[in-house]
Symmetry: C2
Subunit: 155 residues, 2 copies
Protein backbone atom coordinates (compact mmCIF):
# COMPACT_ATOMS: atom_id res chain seq x y z
CA UNK A 1 0.00 0.00 0.00
CA UNK A 2 1.25 3.48 -0.87
CA UNK A 3 0.46 6.24 1.63
CA UNK A 4 0.10 9.90 0.65
CA UNK A 5 0.55 12.20 3.63
CA UNK A 6 1.38 15.85 4.22
CA UNK A 7 3.05 16.87 7.46
CA UNK A 8 2.95 20.26 9.23
CA UNK A 9 4.23 21.88 12.38
CA UNK A 10 1.55 22.89 14.88
CA UNK A 11 1.54 26.49 16.20
CA UNK A 12 -0.37 26.05 19.46
CA UNK A 13 -2.43 23.55 21.43
CA UNK A 14 -5.87 24.87 20.41
CA UNK A 15 -6.36 21.63 18.48
CA UNK A 16 -6.83 19.75 21.78
CA UNK A 17 -10.33 21.20 22.28
CA UNK A 18 -11.36 19.77 18.87
CA UNK A 19 -9.81 16.30 19.38
CA UNK A 20 -12.16 13.31 19.04
CA UNK A 21 -9.55 10.78 20.13
CA UNK A 22 -6.36 10.70 22.22
CA UNK A 23 -3.97 7.70 22.42
CA UNK A 24 -0.61 7.12 24.04
CA UNK A 25 2.01 5.78 21.62
CA UNK A 26 5.37 4.26 22.47
CA UNK A 27 7.52 3.18 19.57
CA UNK A 28 11.00 2.06 18.65
CA UNK A 29 12.78 1.09 15.46
CA UNK A 30 14.38 -2.17 14.36
CA UNK A 31 15.80 -0.21 11.45
CA UNK A 32 15.97 3.51 10.71
CA UNK A 33 17.50 3.33 7.23
CA UNK A 34 15.70 5.78 4.93
CA UNK A 35 15.09 3.08 2.30
CA UNK A 36 13.43 0.66 4.75
CA UNK A 37 12.35 1.53 8.28
CA UNK A 38 10.91 -1.15 10.56
CA UNK A 39 8.84 0.23 13.44
CA UNK A 40 7.50 -1.45 16.57
CA UNK A 41 4.60 0.47 18.10
CA UNK A 42 2.40 0.14 21.15
CA UNK A 43 -0.74 2.21 20.58
CA UNK A 44 -3.01 2.08 23.59
CA UNK A 45 -3.03 -1.65 24.38
CA UNK A 46 -2.35 -2.97 20.86
CA UNK A 47 0.95 -3.62 19.08
CA UNK A 48 1.91 -2.99 15.46
CA UNK A 49 4.86 -3.82 13.27
CA UNK A 50 5.22 -1.41 10.36
CA UNK A 51 7.61 -1.43 7.43
CA UNK A 52 8.03 1.73 5.36
CA UNK A 53 9.97 2.10 2.14
CA UNK A 54 11.68 5.02 0.50
CA UNK A 55 9.78 8.28 0.03
CA UNK A 56 8.81 9.08 -3.58
CA UNK A 57 10.63 11.83 -5.47
CA UNK A 58 7.79 14.25 -4.69
CA UNK A 59 8.32 13.51 -0.98
CA UNK A 60 4.60 12.79 -0.54
CA UNK A 61 4.09 9.04 -0.97
CA UNK A 62 5.80 6.03 0.54
CA UNK A 63 5.34 2.25 0.59
CA UNK A 64 3.85 1.17 3.91
CA UNK A 65 2.99 -2.28 5.28
CA UNK A 66 1.54 -2.83 8.75
CA UNK A 67 0.63 -5.90 10.79
CA UNK A 68 -1.12 -5.95 14.15
CA UNK A 69 0.75 -7.89 16.84
CA UNK A 70 0.05 -8.51 20.52
CA UNK A 71 1.12 -6.21 23.33
CA UNK A 72 3.50 -8.97 24.55
CA UNK A 73 5.08 -9.36 21.12
CA UNK A 74 5.51 -5.59 20.79
CA UNK A 75 7.07 -5.37 24.27
CA UNK A 76 9.60 -8.13 23.42
CA UNK A 77 10.47 -6.48 20.12
CA UNK A 78 10.85 -3.02 21.74
CA UNK A 79 13.55 -4.57 23.95
CA UNK A 80 15.83 -5.14 20.97
CA UNK A 81 15.07 -1.89 19.12
CA UNK A 82 17.71 0.76 18.47
CA UNK A 83 18.23 3.12 21.42
CA UNK A 84 15.89 6.15 21.46
CA UNK A 85 12.33 5.01 22.08
CA UNK A 86 9.69 7.60 21.14
CA UNK A 87 6.92 8.56 23.51
CA UNK A 88 4.01 10.69 22.32
CA UNK A 89 0.29 11.33 22.55
CA UNK A 90 -1.66 11.22 19.31
CA UNK A 91 -4.77 13.38 18.94
CA UNK A 92 -7.24 12.97 16.11
CA UNK A 93 -8.98 16.08 14.89
CA UNK A 94 -11.63 16.06 12.19
CA UNK A 95 -11.51 19.13 9.91
CA UNK A 96 -14.29 19.01 7.31
CA UNK A 97 -13.77 15.67 5.48
CA UNK A 98 -10.15 15.12 6.56
CA UNK A 99 -8.70 13.68 9.76
CA UNK A 100 -5.55 15.27 11.16
CA UNK A 101 -3.33 13.09 13.33
CA UNK A 102 -1.44 15.35 15.72
CA UNK A 103 1.53 14.03 17.69
CA UNK A 104 2.63 15.79 20.87
CA UNK A 105 6.07 14.42 21.80
CA UNK A 106 7.56 13.84 25.24
CA UNK A 107 10.97 12.83 26.55
CA UNK A 108 13.84 14.00 24.36
CA UNK A 109 11.37 15.36 21.80
CA UNK A 110 9.31 17.41 24.29
CA UNK A 111 8.15 20.70 22.71
CA UNK A 112 7.64 19.24 19.25
CA UNK A 113 4.08 18.95 17.89
CA UNK A 114 3.41 17.82 14.31
CA UNK A 115 0.22 17.18 12.35
CA UNK A 116 -0.31 14.80 9.45
CA UNK A 117 -3.17 14.57 7.02
CA UNK A 118 -3.69 11.58 4.73
CA UNK A 119 -4.79 12.29 1.17
CA UNK A 120 -6.17 10.19 -1.67
CA UNK A 121 -3.90 11.81 -4.23
CA UNK A 122 -0.99 14.20 -4.15
CA UNK A 123 -3.07 17.20 -5.33
CA UNK A 124 -6.12 16.77 -3.10
CA UNK A 125 -7.24 20.03 -1.44
CA UNK A 126 -8.02 20.21 2.30
CA UNK A 127 -9.09 22.86 4.83
CA UNK A 128 -6.19 24.29 6.90
CA UNK A 129 -7.14 24.91 10.53
CA UNK A 130 -5.75 28.04 12.28
CA UNK A 131 -3.32 26.03 14.48
CA UNK A 132 -1.61 24.50 11.42
CA UNK A 133 1.94 25.84 10.92
CA UNK A 134 4.66 25.44 8.29
CA UNK A 135 4.67 22.39 6.05
CA UNK A 136 7.52 19.91 6.72
CA UNK A 137 6.43 17.11 4.33
CA UNK A 138 9.43 15.08 3.18
CA UNK A 139 11.78 16.78 5.67
CA UNK A 140 13.72 13.79 6.96
CA UNK A 141 14.51 15.31 10.37
CA UNK A 142 10.82 15.15 11.31
CA UNK A 143 10.60 11.41 10.55
CA UNK A 144 10.06 9.54 13.81
CA UNK A 145 12.94 7.25 12.80
CA UNK A 146 15.21 10.29 12.80
CA UNK A 147 13.70 11.82 15.96
CA UNK A 148 14.70 8.65 17.81
CA UNK A 149 18.37 9.18 16.84
CA UNK A 150 18.49 12.99 16.68
CA UNK A 151 15.82 14.19 19.11
CA UNK A 152 14.32 17.70 19.16
CA UNK A 153 16.18 18.58 22.40
CA UNK A 154 19.48 18.47 20.44
CA UNK A 155 18.39 20.63 17.47
Amino acid sequence: MIEIERKFLVKNTNFKAQATNKTKIVQGFLNTHKARTVRVRIKGDVGFLTVKGKTSESGLSRFEWEKQITLNEATSLLNICEPGVIDKIRYEVQVKNHTFEIDEFFGDNQGLIVAEVELNDENEAFEKPSWLGDEVTGNVKYYNSQLSKHPFCNW
Copy 2:
Protein backbone atom coordinates in the same frame (compact mmCIF):
# COMPACT_ATOMS: atom_id res chain seq x y z
CA MET B 1 11.16 -17.08 22.18
CA ILE B 2 14.84 -17.99 22.53
CA GLU B 3 16.28 -20.42 19.97
CA ILE B 4 19.20 -22.74 20.71
CA GLU B 5 20.86 -23.94 17.52
CA ARG B 6 24.19 -25.41 16.50
CA LYS B 7 25.46 -24.93 12.96
CA PHE B 8 27.87 -27.10 10.97
CA LEU B 9 29.40 -27.25 7.53
CA VAL B 10 28.33 -30.22 5.39
CA LYS B 11 31.04 -32.38 3.81
CA ASN B 12 29.11 -33.99 0.96
CA THR B 13 25.61 -34.38 -0.47
CA ASN B 14 24.94 -37.86 0.96
CA PHE B 15 22.32 -36.25 3.22
CA LYS B 16 20.00 -35.82 0.20
CA ALA B 17 19.15 -39.54 0.15
CA GLN B 18 17.96 -39.28 3.79
CA ALA B 19 15.91 -36.08 3.33
CA THR B 20 12.23 -36.24 4.27
CA ASN B 21 11.45 -32.75 3.01
CA LYS B 22 12.83 -30.27 0.45
CA THR B 23 11.69 -26.65 0.14
CA LYS B 24 12.83 -23.70 -1.95
CA ILE B 25 13.56 -20.60 0.13
CA VAL B 26 14.08 -17.05 -1.14
CA GLN B 27 14.85 -14.43 1.46
CA GLY B 28 16.03 -10.87 1.89
CA PHE B 29 16.75 -8.59 4.83
CA LEU B 30 15.16 -5.34 5.93
CA ASN B 31 18.02 -5.05 8.40
CA THR B 32 21.27 -7.00 8.78
CA HIS B 33 22.51 -5.35 11.99
CA LYS B 34 23.89 -8.02 14.32
CA ALA B 35 21.76 -6.77 17.23
CA ARG B 36 18.49 -6.91 15.27
CA THR B 37 18.02 -8.60 11.91
CA VAL B 38 14.67 -8.41 10.14
CA ARG B 39 14.19 -11.13 7.53
CA VAL B 40 11.55 -11.51 4.79
CA ARG B 41 11.24 -15.10 3.60
CA ILE B 42 9.26 -16.98 0.97
CA LYS B 43 9.29 -20.68 1.86
CA GLY B 44 7.43 -22.71 -0.72
CA ASP B 45 4.25 -20.65 -1.18
CA VAL B 46 4.13 -19.04 2.27
CA GLY B 47 5.72 -15.82 3.56
CA PHE B 48 7.36 -15.10 6.91
CA LEU B 49 8.67 -12.03 8.66
CA THR B 50 11.30 -12.89 11.27
CA VAL B 51 13.10 -10.69 13.77
CA LYS B 52 16.23 -11.98 15.48
CA GLY B 53 18.13 -10.35 18.31
CA LYS B 54 21.72 -10.50 19.40
CA THR B 55 23.39 -13.88 19.90
CA SER B 56 24.08 -14.82 23.53
CA GLU B 57 27.65 -14.76 24.87
CA SER B 58 27.88 -18.53 24.37
CA GLY B 59 27.00 -18.00 20.70
CA LEU B 60 24.26 -20.63 20.92
CA SER B 61 21.01 -18.86 21.73
CA ARG B 62 19.27 -15.88 20.20
CA PHE B 63 15.93 -14.07 20.55
CA GLU B 64 13.68 -14.95 17.62
CA TRP B 65 10.18 -13.78 16.69
CA GLU B 66 8.35 -14.93 13.57
CA LYS B 67 5.02 -14.09 11.94
CA GLN B 68 3.47 -15.75 8.93
CA ILE B 69 2.50 -13.35 6.15
CA THR B 70 1.00 -13.86 2.68
CA LEU B 71 3.04 -14.55 -0.44
CA ASN B 72 1.94 -11.15 -1.79
CA GLU B 73 3.04 -9.35 1.37
CA ALA B 74 6.41 -11.13 1.30
CA THR B 75 6.90 -10.28 -2.37
CA SER B 76 6.19 -6.57 -1.72
CA LEU B 77 8.56 -6.53 1.25
CA LEU B 78 11.33 -8.35 -0.69
CA ASN B 79 11.22 -5.44 -3.18
CA ILE B 80 12.48 -3.01 -0.55
CA CYS B 81 15.01 -5.33 1.12
CA GLU B 82 18.73 -4.65 1.11
CA PRO B 83 20.50 -5.83 -2.05
CA GLY B 84 21.65 -9.49 -1.97
CA VAL B 85 18.63 -11.78 -1.92
CA ILE B 86 19.42 -15.34 -0.79
CA ASP B 87 18.27 -18.35 -2.78
CA LYS B 88 18.59 -21.85 -1.30
CA ILE B 89 16.97 -25.26 -0.98
CA ARG B 90 16.32 -26.52 2.53
CA TYR B 91 16.41 -30.26 3.19
CA GLU B 92 15.13 -31.79 6.42
CA VAL B 93 16.88 -34.89 7.64
CA GLN B 94 15.82 -36.82 10.71
CA VAL B 95 18.76 -38.29 12.68
CA LYS B 96 17.54 -40.27 15.71
CA ASN B 97 15.40 -37.79 17.70
CA HIS B 98 16.79 -34.61 16.11
CA THR B 99 15.93 -32.86 12.84
CA PHE B 100 18.75 -31.33 10.84
CA GLU B 101 17.87 -28.45 8.52
CA ILE B 102 20.39 -28.41 5.69
CA ASP B 103 20.65 -25.38 3.38
CA GLU B 104 22.20 -25.77 -0.06
CA PHE B 105 22.84 -22.28 -1.40
CA PHE B 106 22.67 -21.01 -5.00
CA GLY B 107 23.52 -17.76 -6.75
CA ASP B 108 26.43 -15.91 -5.15
CA ASN B 109 26.58 -18.50 -2.35
CA GLN B 110 26.70 -21.56 -4.63
CA GLY B 111 28.97 -24.24 -3.18
CA LEU B 112 28.05 -23.55 0.43
CA ILE B 113 26.04 -26.16 2.37
CA VAL B 114 25.32 -25.75 6.09
CA ALA B 115 23.32 -27.82 8.59
CA GLU B 116 21.55 -26.62 11.72
CA VAL B 117 20.15 -28.63 14.59
CA GLU B 118 17.79 -27.13 17.16
CA LEU B 119 18.33 -28.13 20.79
CA ASN B 120 16.31 -27.80 23.97
CA ASP B 121 19.30 -26.67 25.98
CA GLU B 122 22.87 -25.70 25.27
CA ASN B 123 24.33 -29.01 26.50
CA GLU B 124 21.91 -31.43 24.82
CA ALA B 125 23.68 -34.35 23.10
CA PHE B 126 22.81 -35.42 19.54
CA GLU B 127 23.97 -38.02 17.00
CA LYS B 128 26.42 -36.66 14.39
CA PRO B 129 25.83 -38.09 10.90
CA SER B 130 28.87 -38.89 8.69
CA TRP B 131 28.23 -35.96 6.32
CA LEU B 132 28.42 -33.41 9.18
CA GLY B 133 31.57 -31.27 9.00
CA ASP B 134 33.17 -28.59 11.18
CA GLU B 135 31.05 -26.63 13.64
CA VAL B 136 30.52 -22.94 12.74
CA THR B 137 28.01 -22.03 15.49
CA GLY B 138 28.24 -18.33 16.31
CA ASN B 139 30.52 -17.60 13.35
CA VAL B 140 28.97 -14.43 12.02
CA LYS B 141 30.10 -14.94 8.42
CA TYR B 142 27.75 -17.93 8.08
CA TYR B 143 24.72 -15.88 9.16
CA ASN B 144 22.37 -15.55 6.21
CA SER B 145 22.26 -11.80 6.93
CA GLN B 146 26.02 -11.69 6.32
CA LEU B 147 25.91 -14.07 3.33
CA SER B 148 23.60 -11.59 1.61
CA LYS B 149 26.23 -8.83 1.94
CA HIS B 150 29.43 -10.90 1.75
CA PRO B 151 28.52 -13.97 -0.32
CA PHE B 152 30.54 -17.20 -0.41
CA CYS B 153 31.82 -16.47 -3.98
CA ASN B 154 33.86 -13.55 -2.53
CA TRP B 155 35.47 -15.43 0.38
